[in-house]
Symmetry: C2
Subunit: 344 residues, 2 copies
């Protein structure tokens, strides 16, 4: 059998941090991986008068999205998506979820038959009463087995080798071990669990909880209230996934980095928490805060809350998830934020 050829699809902050780990690890495990080249697909753009791919390939640094972190020289930026994945057997999807469909359009029929994939994309797809995780979408559209990685992973902290952990939800144990070898370092511990859906859903739903935590910070209710909201949110995440996805594992939520630890990280720092706090203190609507604080990018938590609201309404299950619903009502329907804790 030939060695695994890795390709990284996406080169933002998190994609670049992961490329750093992967570039080093293929050398460490060169018995398994082709260590000569780790292509990273870069959506071409100009940065400080140069092409971003050119900067990455000459300076070995993604100066726009992950400045001051050196990438291994075998990480090679490729502006053409199909070329980037050519011959690759281990595909790492790491991009904002709104770009996934377009990427898959281009990739369909173009990936290796024996390839496997992993997605680091946060979010969840909702269409009325239907809900799906991106690992399933990738798996179905490309015909490759797709795992998921999620955890308490602020990209910049991982990139500078701060101690942290993550969770891989795998399709087969063998694939789990492959992804562990690709990403794990002494300071980046990769736990494995047989639960693709659970791990994927944690990464999406925790943003709703982070918005709720931000509301509490804005109200200045203190750490008791914040801890209570985080606990209630974590349990709603668990109940939601257990209700709508068969075979999710309780441990993914309550014991894994993807669950409890990512809820903690997101409620301590993170843009969802921060914008929600500003929503209360500055009394500005979220679309204005998105402009002011996120350069016009969408605030994931409130959009996930809306998706989940639409889904739960279609399934007639709104009443079962009071915290999720309160976050929706406050963010989109003008419910006073002081009502957040009422009736929880």
């Amino acid at each position: 059998m030939g060695k695994e050829k890795v390709a990284i699809i996406g080169s933002g902050n998190w994609g670049s941090a992961i490329a750093k780990l992967a570039g080093n690890n293929v050398k460490k495990h060169s018995d398994i991986f082709d260590d000569s080249k780790v292509p990273i697909w870069v959506f071409e753009e100009d940065f400080e008068g140069k092409k971003l791919t050119e900067i990455i390939n000459t300076e070995h640094e993604n100066k726009k999205y992950l400045p001051d972190v050196k990438l291994s020289e075998n990480v090679v930026a490729v502006p053409d998506l199909v070329e980037a994945v050519k011959g690759a057997t281990a595909l790492v999807f790491v991009m904002p979820h709104q770009f996934l469909d377009k990427c898959l359009d281009q990739l369909e029929g173009k990936v290796e038959k024996n390839a496997k994939a992993i997605t680091l994309i946060k979010g969840v797809g909702v269409e009325g009463p239907d809900i799906h995780v991106f690992a399933d979408v990738i798996q179905e559209r490309l015909g490759v087995s797709c795992s998921a990685l999620s955890g308490a992973n602020i990209a910049n902290e991982v990139a500078i080798d701060r101690f942290s952990e993550t969770t891989v939800g795998y399709r087969t144990e063998e694939e789990g071990q492959l992804w562990q070898k690709l990403f794990q370092t002494p300071n980046f511990k990769v736990q494995l669990i047989d639960d693709v859906a659970g791990v994927s859903l944690c990464g999406a739903l925790k943003n709703i909880v982070a918005v709720a935590a931000g509301f509490i910070d804005g109200l200045e209710y203190g750490n008791n209230s914040k801890a209570a909201i985080m606990r209630i949110g974590l349990l709603e995440m668990k109940y939601f996934c257990q209700e709508f996805f068969k075979d999710v594992k309780e441990e993914s939520f309550l014991q894994e980095s993807a669950g409890v630890a990512d809820v903690i990280t997101s409620c301590l720092g993170g843009r969802n928490r921060k914008c929600a706090e500003a929503f209360v203190k500055q009394k500005k609507p979220f679309d204005e805060l998105e402009k002011d604080m996120l350069n016009g990018q969408k605030l994931q938590g409130i959009h996930t809350a809306k998706d989940v609201h639409i889904f739960l309404k279609a399934r007639d299950r709104l009443g079962a998830y009071p915290l999720f619903d309160k976050v929706y009502q406050i963010s989109w329907e003008g419910l006073p934020v002081e009502k957040l804790t009422e009736g929880l």
Copy 2:
């Protein structure tokens, strides 16, 4: 059957906050409780030239330990312990653990035969290879059924009616419901679980985790690392209790306020976290920090870490709890704090 007569044993910050809730709730549930009087035992001392019991009984406020919070007028301060519990059928123990033994010496043989108790005391008793929770100590010495209450409960926040939650580990469901009626308010949610040991142990062991979190803050490792340490600590708490106490429930740790939520609160704020951070940043020994920051009071987390170390060593199980052991080594044996995350 007569009505339940409540007595509160202890009048510090937490005891006074709980007295406020109990004083109001006996009136709300006057079908069950004698609402005429809730004695609270006060260790007599002078404050601003007056006796503390006198201040509480005339101004209905514990000006020394919970200033600016009015107590219900039926809360009556009593300086004599035996008098305070006379006729009481519902005993609430809420004092620093080092005073418990002396109180029990006085109370033995003096409490009502049909009385039941609940302890809100944090900590755990260790004597070499033996470990016990205070609920069991109270139960054995007084011959009364003793439940335990613990949760993400900063006393001042509970006292001013901020939204929060707590957990009662009960002996019988009926007793659980009694304690719930005594303490629950619309903004202080009392969950019940059939796990006295688990709830008791959470309140002790979380302080070790809070010290570890404080070390991470001192090192400025960021929120990924902090969330990872909290997750690992929570799991060590769970494994420890499952190994040494039969019938503890996983939910107490992973789902209840006493477990995950109290770990969060203690790692966000709290004296253990704060002193541990100062230990790293100011490079002062803990006994000096106890003098500077705690008026000479003991820092619970490091003393619990030492107790647990002695216990685990006696049981030859040190290696199974690397985070607990690292906290001990750093606090007492001069291990450099940078070693905290190594090998976790």
